[in-house]
Symmetry: C2
């Protein structure tokens, strides 16, 4: 199965990103796209709906689909994006240092945030992210060990999501996130370059698999001057 609507989406999204389609221009009509891709109109519409959701186009009844301006400097902590994917879009030098990687048995706080049985094996992972040599992001992860049997420092330094999705074959599906600003604790100040700041932007995420298992809880602390969260949202009526 190759998913026609996905192929149509990819093609048009790439053209917009490559600015072969300029902002303000109209896409070919749905009927025209239906002919061009030799498919049905509903399939074309699925592709266009995806483009609309992701901020590529705006559909106008009676007129057509307008190409929207693309965000420059996309630094999306929004959506479900890992640090590695994020780092790619930044020009700065990026380095990840693994401070701790050990298995524990769930109890108390861990048991609570992962909503699992007492005694469930869990990975505890602490990582420090350096931009241009400065330690400005501090990630603490808790993961169900059953989902990531062979986690290593090398994987943690690279990308956990790549490992889980490509090697273990897990399907990460959705997450609930929360962004707040909190006082930096003494433990934070010990490992991070605080640069005189006393507060941290904290992103807490609960990440779920396709079968609705909660398998990861992450606390990501950012030095405020290095923090930015961008979002594209449609009005729901």
């Amino acid at each position: 199965m190759q998913r026609k609507f996905q192929a149509i989406y990819d093609l048009i999204a790439r053209e917009i990103q490559a600015e072969k389609m300029e902002a303000g221009q109209l896409l070919p009509s749905e009927n025209e796209l239906t002919e061009r891709f030799e498919t049905s109109r509903e399939t074309v519409r699925k592709a266009l709906q995806l483009l609309s959701q992701n901020g590529y186009i705006q559909k106008l009844q009676g007129k057509g689909s307008v190409v929207l301006e693309q965000n420059k400097l996309p630094l999306p902590v929004s959506g479900l994006t890992s640090f590695k994917e994020l780092a790619r879009s930044m020009s700065q030098t990026v380095e990840t240092q693994v401070l701790a990687l050990k298995q524990k048995l769930a109890e108390g706080y861990i048991q609570e945030v992962l909503q699992c049985e007492k005694g469930t094996p869990v990975w505890e992972l602490h990582r420090l992210r350096k931009l241009d040599g400065e330690a400005v992001i501090y990630d603490k992860d808790l993961l169900l060990a059953a989902c990531a049997p062979a986690l290593t420092e090398a994987i943690a330094r690279d990308s956990i999501y790549d490992y889980l999705e490509q090697d273990v074959g897990l399907s990460i599906s959705y997450a609930r996130k929360e962004v707040v600003v909190e006082e930096a604790g003494s433990a934070d100040a010990e490992v991070m370059d605080m640069g005189g700041y006393q507060q941290l932007a904290v992103v807490r995420s609960a990440v779920y698999l396709e079968d609705t298992t909660l398998f990861q809880y992450t606390e990501s602390k950012h030095r405020p001057d290095k923090f930015r969260f961008v979002d594209f949202a449609r009005r729901t009526k």
Copy 2:
């Protein structure tokens, strides 16, 4: 036109919110819903897709649609939600004070952020939001005057979105948002109760109409301890 899929969505969403459907339970199958609502399966699927997007359910191929746990304390600055809608879900007392409401002609900074012609009439609106008597949110709005001809202090104190959508008949469509943490300026400290904090969580939004007109630019500054941004995100592959 009453949109069947919307009616099905509303009904199921309300049942989940009212916890008539418990988290973990399976929804009736698509075929069963098709019969129950006397419609076609594609229409049922449109409703279920909406429920999935908004975090109500998770679809599992071969099994069914699982009801997800609802967020307690939904305080969504995420999505496109106005202060009034937001305030409703909070137990605290809420008060809005209009500090300034005047028309200007666009130039320089205003012209740039609203991407309009020099000399375009623009509303400039400053509002202070008080929770439990403390001034903890400071909103600065710029709006195209052409879209909101008769803006008054009373409207600004109530809800601009209600006025625009219900009275003027505008359709707000989407927004790009950015969250950052910044130093509080002396002007901010003068009007806000800073409670010893030196920094502010700043949400900048550009809001667009259905015809892709950029009509509002907002800067919303929150005292860090009163700021919270929650998000539901699906992984895009």
